[in-house]
Symmetry: C2
Amino acid sequence: MKTVPPKTVGRLTLYWRTLRDIPADQTHVYSHVLAAKSRLTPAQVRRDLMVLGYAGTPAHGYNVQLLRKHIEAFLFPASEQRVAIAGVGNIGRALLKFFSGRRPTLRIVASFEANPEKYDRLIQGCQCYSIEKAETVIREMDISVGIIAVPDKEAQFVADVFVGAGIRGILNFARAPLHVPPDVYVEDIDLAMAMDKVAYFARRQQAGSSAVG
Amino acid sequence: MKTVPPKTVGRLTLYWRTLRDIPADQTHVYSHVLAAKSRLTPAQVRRDLMVLGYAGTPAHGYNVQLLRKHIEAFLFPASEQRVAIAGVGNIGRALLKFFSGRRPTLRIVASFEANPEKYDRLIQGCQCYSIEKAETVIREMDISVGIIAVPDKEAQFVADVFVGAGIRGILNFARAPLHVPPDVYVEDIDLAMAMDKVAYFARRQQAGSSAVG
DNA sequence: GTAGCATTGTGAATTGTTTCACGGAGAAAA
DNA sequence: TTTTCTCCGTGAAACAATTCACAATGCTAC
Ligand SMILES: NC(=O)c1ccc[n+]([C@@H]2O[C@H](COP(=O)([O-])OP(=O)(O)OC[C@H]3O[C@@H](n4cnc5c(N)ncnc54)[C@H](O)[C@@H]3O)[C@@H](O)[C@H]2O)c1
Ligand SMILES: NC(=O)c1ccc[n+]([C@@H]2O[C@H](COP(=O)([O-])OP(=O)(O)OC[C@H]3O[C@@H](n4cnc5c(N)ncnc54)[C@H](O)[C@@H]3O)[C@@H](O)[C@H]2O)c1
């Protein structure tokens, strides 16, 4: 299987959500239906689905259950994939609350803090450790994904700890471009930048809904 | 001035941050410096800066103060631009805390809630109103940007309220593709999708830091 | 059967974005 | 003055993503 564009991966989660919400008595679905639910074109949906190795039929479109299983096989881990979060502040807490117990195969199993008042206890049902223990904990729990929700100036330090501990993907909320080896995937979520973009385009006439974060 | 690509607008905020953090005694800066600080190439920096109508000099690069002023003139509103947020839950609260008092020209001046225990009081120094009063408040306060941080199923309803009240740009955290007129700019921040993407690429070998949210 | 229709998968075209590469310009040194 | 740097601005090339467009398919109607 060759390398799949990140944007395609992202859109597959959109299709999966649509499929999940289709009533059970509806066995098939067309690309234009999936497209409409995600604000995309039918051609793009079909193009994206090509990576799955599952083909629909011209007559009925895609079998809902089958397509869903194929997306799940592609997108979801076969066994539990573990996640850690560094920084339990405004954002960190929100993420912990939101993701706790939501997905069986993708679970936040540890959080790390620099503040002694926060670590060595449970936060949102998840053990919070000192950031100094991160490398050990990450290795012992076999954590492959890290979330960075610490202040901007601490972000590179945490990234280095994560990478040193063998983490393979990072979701970064800090406004700091991280320097990591090329085999570690980084997805930046820059909320301040997003605000500036919206504010900018709100001042212009111009159109064009941007896709996704 | 013609239409500027959203990605360029986003990167200009990155350059602005770098300029802001340059010590005052350093009067000039080269494209390759700006590039390194944002994980980009010098050519892309120069290309982006073309939209500003301000040119550097081959000898010294860009004048820090001047370039900064030009980016500010391009990116920041001339007069205060007002923002409202719907939904003061996990995310809404985090955003209110983070953005309060941070930017003089881009200010969250109202929040809207459906829960009577939350509205008709101050939250994070910002008056929280019933969502039913949204149209009136948005018009009276001349709010042009809306943030959607309500549950997924409520998102379209809130978007319709926002659009009806004349809002021009929306930052959407709900996992629901919004349907809005083409002259309203929508920036989606889909945290669950971002998690799935990171988890997917953490499982593959493959490289490639994705840019920004 | 066959005609008519809507849909799929995908090569080709298009559109959008990034990188290359080079002319030109200022500075410094001889 | 002339030479030699390094860097900027930008046209052109390369690359990436999206959309078009059409042959092929299977269904329904007659
Ligand atoms: N909250 C928002 O809405 C928002 C918006 C835009 C950007 N951000 C960015 O997200 C990041 C987090 O923001 P926040 O509002 O949650 O910040 P916060 O200050 O509320 O939380 C940061 C937490 O990280 C902890 N911490 C500090 N250094 C640490 C270290 N070395 N290791 C582990 N933990 C450490 C702190 O104790 C604190 O609890 C920041 O980089 C910020 O710029 C946040
Ligand atoms: N928190 C996260 O980390 C996270 C992650 C991924 C996605 N999201 C998305 O962000 C959105 C908000 O998430 P959250 O965790 O903050 O949710 P939340 O349930 O904590 O907060 C939602 C708030 O919206 C209010 N609300 C409900 N209906 C409303 C209406 N019609 N008008 C105004 N207010 C209304 C509720 O009273 C509540 O306070 C959801 O769509 C969620 O899917 C959140």
